[in-house]
């Protein structure tokens, strides 16, 4: 058993938790963050990649819109490398009426969201594949952001301030002594070891799982409704700026260029279990139709992967529980001392990735108030190390890097231009990482072949670098391919079928993957 003693335990390694642990550490507390899986593996890693300009909420939720506009600038400043300054458009497609757009510019001005109406000609010049029948277009400061880089950036900064980053630590219980949370117990899943962490305060940032966590401290049913949404990544950038439909928030109203792909999203359906999120066929069709409205020919383009994420929405008694879209998206912080009579724990529910830093600031402020402390929050001013040059990311970066090291380094993932140097470095830093853990940080296997050509190379390298033995490497490769398959199956059509057939011949026909030596334990 491993024992640890810290001031604060943060539970949940998504964007919110990462923002919170950074803030707590920067205010001088000793802190540990726990996640049952990898950082950014839940909701944070399963969204469309938008850094909101605020434009989406100017009519429905002006307060959120203003916060988004402000935090958008903050994130660009402190974490430039995670952000691509794509710019965004709000367009009225031929299928939409003009009512919503008539109030759009005024609402944006009122919410202090920068917005400029474009001529149709100018909008089509910027995005030539856009539906030529669009009726109006507005430019906003939308950007795309890599959720995993954002989370790892914040977490690594927290680490520099002394924080413990404990991934694959599943919380199993909390000990409440005299009405106060005093200890968190967890299982280190990769080592199969129990961990006890003494603490003075718990910050519950578990998103859709926050209700389960709060329950462990004896706090009465915290109702978090997972609002399930699916997204589909298309093989290349059909647009180079974010394209939103200028309508009241609805399904399939956004297309985001993120790295090499463009992502269409999303749906919104009440789910029961955040660990069991379906990708229903009809929703896939619905997304492809939505894409067609924005970019004619969208259905003929190649879909490479689909996934499903759960928004953590706090159940507001004012609206019906089945209508998740209209629950508040503003976040809610639950003070369990007054609410449930349990001291030393706060839960945060809801919010948006764009405002992750601000949400953290609010939560840590409340914690400090309870603790009778008043340290200054510096998260908006201090640039996260590595981003000092304040240069935002561009999709061309990796191509440029490979241009320079093409004679020295091998390319392992051809689709995403990930080099051998990149993967061996991360394997050294994170020796227990699964290939999916590496994927989230390096984009291994995220391109059109979905691991068909790179996963066996990564496996070979892992063995060569003595990171794993042969049995575990086989298990890791199988697990990786199995997880890729989850997102392939629902969109299998056209070009992706041919790819999958070729990949299948390689893995079954050439490698006989089903009959490779097996390890006793399940890989994680």
């Amino acid at each position: 058993m491993k024992k640890l003693s810290v001031d604060v335990v943060v539970i949940g390694g998504g964007a919110t938790g990462a923002g919170v642990v950074r803030d707590v550490a920067m205010r001088g507390y000793s802190v540990a963050i726990l996640d049952k899986a990898d950082l950014g593996q839940g909701t944070t890693g399963r969204y469309h990649g938008l850094l909101h300009s605020g434009g989406r909420y100017v009519v429905s939720d002006p307060h959120s819109a203003t916060e988004c506009a402000e935090e958008n600038e903050v994130v660009r400043r402190i974490q430039a490398h995670a952000v691509e300054d794509t710019g965004g458009l709000f367009v009225v497609t031929p299928d939409d009426d003009l009512d919503y757009s008539n109030g759009f510019a005024a609402a944006a001005a009122a919410a202090q969201v920068p917005c400029e109406e474009l001529t149709i000609r100018e909008a089509l010049r910027r995005e030539p594949r856009l539906n030529p029948g669009i009726k109006r277009a507005f430019a906003v400061r939308d950007a795309s952001v890599d959720g995993w880089q954002l989370v790892w950036g914040a977490a690594n900064d927290a680490k520099r301030h002394g924080a413990h980053i404990l991934t694959y630590h599943r919380v199993t219980g909390m000990e409440v002594v005299d009405g106060s949370v005093r200890q968190v117990t967890a299982i280190d899943e990769k080592r199969g070891e129990e961990v006890q962490i003494d603490c003075n305060f718990v910050l519950n940032c578990a998103g859709p799982w926050a209700g389960q966590i709060a329950g462990m401290a004896g706090c009465e049913e915290v109702e978090v409704v997972p609002g399930r949404g699916i997204m589909i990544a298309m093989n290349h950038r059909l647009v180079n700026s974010v394209v939103n439909r200028c309508i009241y928030p609805a399904d399939g109203d956004i297309l985001v260029p993120v790295h090499t792909v463009s992502i269409i999203g999303t749906t919104d359906v009440k789910a029961t279990d955040p660990d069991q999120l379906a990708i229903p066929r009809d929703e896939v069709q619905q997304m492809l139709d939505a894409g067609e409205a924005l970019v004619p020919g969208f259905r003929e383009a190649r879909a490479v992967h689909a996934w499903s994420g759960a928004r953590p929405l706090f159940k507001d008694p004012k609206v019906s529980a089945s209508d998740t879209r209209h629950m508040t998206r503003g976040m809610k912080i639950l003070e369990h001392d007054t609410r449930d009579g349990v001291n030393g724990i706060l839960s945060i529910i809801g919010g948006k990735l764009t405002t992750y830093r601000l949400m953290a600031e609010h939560m840590v402020d409340i914690m400090e108030e309870k603790l009778g402390n008043q340290n200054e929050c510096k998260t908006a001013e201090e640039i996260i190390p590595g981003n000092e040059d304040r240069k935002t990311y561009a999709v061309t970066h990796r191509l440029e890097e490979r241009e320079h090291d093409r004679f020295e380094d091998q390319i392992i993932c051809e689709c995403e231009l990930m080099s051998r140097g990149m993967i061996t470095q991360l394997m050294t830093e994170q020796p227990t990482a699964s290939f999916d853990d590496l994927r989230r940080q390096l984009r291994l296997g995220m391109g059109p072949c979905q691991g068909g050509f790179c996963s066996m190379r990564a496996t070979g390298i892992a063995v060569e670098e003595q990171m794993v033995d042969v049995e575990r490497s086989t298990e890791l490769m199988r697990l990786f391919l199995k997880n890729r398959w989850i997102g392939l199956w629902p969109i299998l059509n056209g070009d992706q079928v041919r790819q999958t057939a070729l990949d299948n011949w390689i893995f079954h026909g050439t490698f006989d993957i089903e009959h490779l030596p097996q390890s006793e334990e399940e890989a994680l």
Binding site: N240, G297, I411, G447, P448, R498
Partner: protein
């Protein structure tokens, strides 16, 4: 959107979505990489799969991978791809983006093929001397980057147009419909002999050959990334060729220029003007047309006197990409006694203007080496090939005289007797 608007849009920014969209078909099988003649000889080029469907996903109107310029645009990758990815086309468009801002003077100069020919013809002896003069070529290499040993077109004493004007009128009246001859820049100024003989063969077979005043097809501009100029050239040429009459067949002995009008201007420059489509569907490479005449019984074996020779033949990459088989082989072998041996090689290396550039000269030579060896071994006196720059390249490096296949037919028809066979 009308075709005119598409061209306008293309002019403003080199983003031909036609080629880009085809990257979706790539399954990464790597067949293109195994067939690329440039990758075979140099590590400087990252290969067709890399620069084509892979790198294109990382491009966003910006150019960061200058090494793509090592692609020779031979198009073998596109032909080899079993999935229909327009690999070479993607790359040519990317090169145009790369060169939008900083076009080397040299690449602007060597694409001015018409201008060069017009300038050189009146001064042919001087020009030829200058091009053979080492110090002059060294200066050319240093100043404009044309390799000092690069094969250069022989300037002629008389242009094709000059010959056409001055020659005696054909003795016999045409017995068949009029057809249009497209001579191309090289055929107009440098490979005048090929043009003359093509016209004479066609007239011998009874056709009235019309030669409207015409300019360049823009291929050299296109492969050097000068798309706007290339589109202007295509438009002017299409108008010129159509001016000869409605619904006429167009014949050309410039293999690569024919391909430009057949498909490249559409696939790479994104042009879909109906006039271009009209010309593209009516144009035939000379051997392709002669094969049709063989099939129709207009050209018959009894017209052909025997030539006892084994003839090496290299089909250029840009003729391969026209997907018409190897009509030149069938036509030459229709001559009694002729045995044709094909090079079986993807490319001679020159790929238009690629091998003229000093940084690519050695690569181009290495690419073409198997062709040079094969030609020399098969027949040290005579070889055949359908395009001009390829003939210059093969002739320069093998020392074997290279002619268009039509010249062999010309001799077999009894119209000349200057081939040493």
């Amino acid at each position: 959107m009308t075709s005119h608007e598409v061209v306008q849009q293309g002019e403003s920014h080199e983003h031909n979505t036609l080629a880009r969209a085809s990257l979706d078909n790539c399954v990464k099988c790597t067949i293109c990489e195994t067939q690329c003649p440039v990758s075979r000889v140099t590590p400087l080029f990252t290969g067709p799969k890399f620069v084509g469907p892979q790198a294109e996903r990382f491009r966003n109107g910006e150019s960061v991978d200058k090494s793509l310029d090592y692609c020779s645009s031979c198009g073998i990758c596109t032909q080899a791809c079993p999935q229909g990815v327009k690999i070479a086309e993607i790359n040519t468009v990317a090169r145009a983006v790369m060169k939008e801002d900083h076009m080397p003077v040299r690449d602007r100069l060597i694409v001015q093929t018409t201008l060069m020919g017009r300038f050189m013809t009146p001064f042919a002896p001087v020009a030829n001397m200058a091009l053979k003069n080492k110090p002059v070529r060294k200066i050319m290499q240093a100043v404009v980057g044309v390799a000092e040993d690069a094969p250069m077109p022989p300037a002629q004493m008389q242009s094709f147009e000059g010959w056409l004007k001055r020659r005696p009128r054909p003795k016999t009246q045409p017995t068949r419909e009029p057809i249009v001859f497209f001579h191309g820049c090289a055929g107009g100024y440098f490979e005048v002999e090929t043009s003359k003989k093509t016209v004479e063969v066609l007239e011998h077979l009874g056709y009235e050959v019309l030669v409207p005043k015409q300019g360049c097809c823009g291929l050299a501009q296109q492969s050097n990334g000068l798309f706007a100029g290339a589109r202007r050239s295509v438009n002017a040429l299409v108008d010129a060729l159509l001016s000869a009459g409605k619904g006429l067949t167009i014949v050309s002995s410039s293999g690569s220029c024919t391909g430009m009008l057949k498909h490249e201007a559409h696939e790479i420059l994104g042009m879909d003007d109906p006039r271009l489509m009209e010309v593209g569907s009516r144009i035939r490479e000379t051997s392709e047309f002669l094969l049709e005449l063989l099939d129709e019984g207009i050209l018959t074996p009894d017209m052909l006197s025997p030539i006892e020779a084994t003839i090496p033949y290299h089909q250029p990459c840009q003729v391969k990409s026209q997907a018409m088989g190897t009509p030149a082989v069938t036509v030459m072998e229709a001559i009694p006694g002729v045995k044709v041996v094909e090079s079986g090689q993807p490319c001679c290396g020159i790929a238009g203007t690629y091998g003229l550039k000093k940084e690519k000269y050695e690569i181009a030579k290495a690419v073409g080496q198997p062709v040079f060896d094969m030609v020399k071994e098969t027949n040290p006196d005579l070889g055949t090939c359908d395009t001009e720059t390829c003939r210059w390249q093969i002739q320069k490096h093998s020392g074997v005289r290279m002619v268009h296949p039509v010249e062999l037919l010309h001799q077999s028809l009894g119209l000349s007797n200057d081939l040493k066979v």
